[in-house]
């Protein structure tokens, strides 16, 4: 049953959704548009304002939709845009086999098996696609108004800088108090103490620092008792380094990102010193976690499979936990041709996906998979620490190895003579599998395994 523009109008929850959807109907916003004629399904991936693309599927038989975006509107603007593109043939849909993520959705979907019901228009005022094209009155600003705006912007920036300066002074004083009074007491009362200083930092507009301190107690508590003191020293020391680095160069974008807020997508794309990499990227793993400040962090780790030594990228989005559970944006192991724009700065890990094309070729093997196991696996971590010593962790590509348990029950990744402890819940099966290469994040004490190339194919690890 083919879609019509009237269907899109009828299904739209309100006029604003139609208006937003109209801005997403350009093919450039959709790296992937595909359909399966036999099943009546169409799907696509829409590059929204976040780093991770949204996955959208529409069942043309009954107009059922699903999107991975956190919108509370149903259908969301992405689903409406996909239907709109289909209805007006604005872009070609390639005929493809149904991917796993669509199959998963179909499996979870409550299927009444009933014939498609007649579309019911949602309650509220009538909506019209024609209205979305109505020209909005153009705002004309006078030179005086523009100058006033510029002065206001400069003043806000100065005020923020001054406020952040107070935040750094207060933070260092607080850290000094913890060592003076004893880390034994800090470790016992870390939750309350970190919450208090985090609240003060929020008052001073240092949101990123506040979040980092909010997460500190749970990171410490996840470690065995005997490791907590050293981990606390390491993390408090890194906060001092970050504070000093920011005070030395308060205009540095990377430091501002670590202290207060990140640049917008447009700012990153316009930055003159942002690195752009066009290559074949593989999705290593996704980590979707709810933070103590009520935000959900959605991190997607990518690796450039053509680079040697390995090059990594992180797509990072935050959204409120109240928006509900977020689905995956990618399938682990998936490879695509894409352009990534990295956030400026010495860390150069966080990136934005600029464009993406699904690859038809067989997946490429990892280039560095034949590196000798005895090689110093932590060299990438050390060099990254030299560039950005305040950073907490770094991704690594490790050569051939095998997982093993020690008598205390802890899991380790062994590479020849070298062994590093692992923080993941490793399935028993993996202890009998040879790992030809493993991607992981090292935080100085534990490996968080992302994925591995093994004798039984690619394997994704969960936390």
């Amino acid at each position: 049953m083919s879609l019509s523009v009237q269907d899109v109008e009828t299904l739209a929850p309100d006029q604003a959704s139609l208006k937003s959807a109209s801005k997403l109907t350009g093919p450039a916003k959709w790296p992937l548009l595909a359909g399966n004629g036999e099943s009546g399904l169409i799907w696509g991936e829409c590059q929204g304002s976040g780093a991770n693309p949204y996955r959208v599927v529409v069942d043309e038989n009954d107009r059922g939709t699903k999107c991975t975006c956190p919108s509370r509107k149903f259908p969301c603007k992405h689903a409406l845009a996909l239907m709109w593109i289909r209805a007006e043939n604005k872009a070609p849909f390639s005929d493809a086999a149904i991917p796993d993520w669509v199959t998963d959705w179909l499996g979870r979907r409550r299927n009444t098996g009933s014939a498609p019901a007649a579309l019911k228009p949602s309650a509220g005022p009538a909506k019209s696609i024609a209205e979305t094209f109505a020209a909005e009155p153009e705002k004309i600003e006078t030179p005086e108004a523009l100058a006033r705006k510029e002065r206001g912007r400069a003043k806000r920036a100065e005020d923020k800088k001054a406020s952040l300066h107070y935040a750094m002074v207060e933070l260092e004083q607080w850290i000094s108090d913890q060592t003076r009074l004893g880390l034994a007491g800090f470790l016992e009362d870390a939750g309350a103490r970190c919450r208090n200083i985090a609240a003060r930092l929020v008052d001073f507009k240092a949101q990123a620092l506040a979040s980092r301190l909010d997460e500190l107690p749970s990171r410490l508590m996840a470690l065995p008792m005997e490791e907590r003191t050293e981990a606390a020293i390491a993390e408090l020391g890194k906060l001092v380094l970050l504070s000093r680095a920011w005070q030395a160069d308060p205009d540095d974008a990377q430091l501002m990102r670590n202290v207060a807020t990140s640049e917008t997508r447009d700012q990153v794309l316009e930055a003159p010193n942002g690195r752009r990499v066009v290559s074949v990227w593989e999705v290593l793993a996704e980590r979707i976690t709810t933070r103590r400040d009520g935000l959900v962090s959605h991190a997607t780790w990518l690796m450039d499979v053509q680079a040697d030594p390995a090059d990594f990228a992180l797509l990072l989005d935050f959204y409120p936990a109240s928006a509900g559970a977020r689905s995956r944006s990618f399938m682990p192991g998936e490879q695509f041709d894409g352009t990534l724009v990295f956030y400026p700065g010495a860390e150069e890990l966080r990136a934005i996906l600029l464009d993406r094309k699904v690859r038809g070729d067989p997946a490429q093997d990892w280039k560095s998979s034949d590196q000798p196991a005895e090689q110093d696996v932590l060299s990438f971590y050390r060099s990254r620490q030299n560039r950005a010593p305040w950073s907490q962790s770094a991704p690594l590509l490790i050569g051939a190895g095998k997982l093993a348990k020690c008598e205390a029950g802890l899991d380790w990744l062994r590479m020849g003579e070298v062994a590093l402890p692992v923080s993941n819940q490793v399935p028993d099966l993996m202890f009998g599998i040879d790992l030809t290469a493993t991607s992981a994040i090292w935080d100085g004490t534990r490996l968080d395994l992302l994925s591995a190339q093994t004798s039984i194919g690619k394997v994704e690890f969960v936390r």
Partner: protein
Amino acid sequence: MKQDEQDALVRMRDCWFAGGPAYDLAPAPWQTVAAAQGGEGRETVLLALAGQAFQVAYRPAAPQTFLTSSPLPDLALPTMPDAARSLFRAALKNFDTHGLTERLLGFVASRGFAVHPLDWMPQGATIDAPDLYAPWIDWVARRDAQAAPTDEALTSETWDSFYPAARRGELLRLRVQDPGAARDLLQAKAGGEPAEVRLRLVQILGTNLQAEDQLYLEGLLADRSGKIKVLAAQFLARLGVSMGDEQQKRDDLAELADFLDVKKSLFLRKRSFAPKILKTSAQERRRAALFEGCSLRDLAAWFEVDEATFVEDWSYNNLSEVDEMLVGLAMRTAGDATLRTMKDCMVAAGKSALLLSAHLIPRLPASDGFDLQWSALKILDVDSLDSFQDYAPAFSMLEADDVLSIMMAKTLRADIADTENGARQWRLERGLRLIGFLARHEAAQTLLDHFIAAGLPPMDPSLIPLRLNAALPPKSP
């Protein structure tokens, strides 16, 4: 890092743990760096240096010994194609919910493939899996063992080199090829195994059971395990050997005979046996207990007929619960020929007897089992075929036209059209779960097209077994 710096670092850590300035404990070069700062600033600089030293210069010390795990063994069949894996996972969710995982694994194996270990692995030392997975079952059970699976033939000398599941598979093969050698091996080695393992080993005697097994089975009547004693007695009963207290047995048979009716047809000069309708549930329980405790041969002999005649002359479909008791009795104690006779009688009787006949399948040859299933499929509907779900003597045997001619296919088509029926989805899933694997590979796609044309949405979950069937290539000749 130098040793004196490491020592200083430990002292600074301990100082901060207790509380207080650590400047005086720091290595001299660090003091120089920190001295540029005044007051508390010195401590924070030292904290930054110490933190980096802990995180970059050190890493957790690896233990001296690790618990080694042997490599996951290869299976005799290749892993299924990647393209079929997502369908297998979807099917597994559904089949597992209904306790039919073994059926799904059996179908995949019948096509010449093993599942991917990330999609399914035996849980613990589970034994409800095709023999193909014996190496994995043993690996899960003894993952920490150093020994590798052996390639040697199973003999009393190599007995201990085999893990339990692999050993059982080898023994089963030997029992088919050389029943006497398998029995001798059991006699020599089974006694040393734990009761649960011993029971699984003795069950192998059920394959090619023969008179020469009698002596060993009589010996097992004195086994420490009650379950093995019962099993040995059942095998002996199948061989026609009567065990136990004769007087007690006669009393029990007399009592059981009182619960049965013997009718004589004057016209046909034929005798028939039928269950009496009893007055109380206590009597019904007693009858069930008596069926449990006797052998079919003894019961038939009480009525002065042989066991094949008794099952031929049984009047099926009078009381299905008593028919079920008789099927149980035959499965435990009747010979193979009697079971085949019983199958023919139950197919002829139809109705509930035909349904109950499914329980005979495990002891019937594959061709008889398939005939039985085919007979049932031709006339029974989806609601009646539950008992056949557990047994799959022959996968991939039917052409699309065969499948479409069975009763269930007709009612499923009616279900697809009946969108108002609340039980529709449940019936569709159950029906297609049963017939999805019976069709040949080529027929599966034809059936998919047929049901979709009849109105089932192409991605309906009930079609997953058929889609998996179509996605798995046929077994190479």
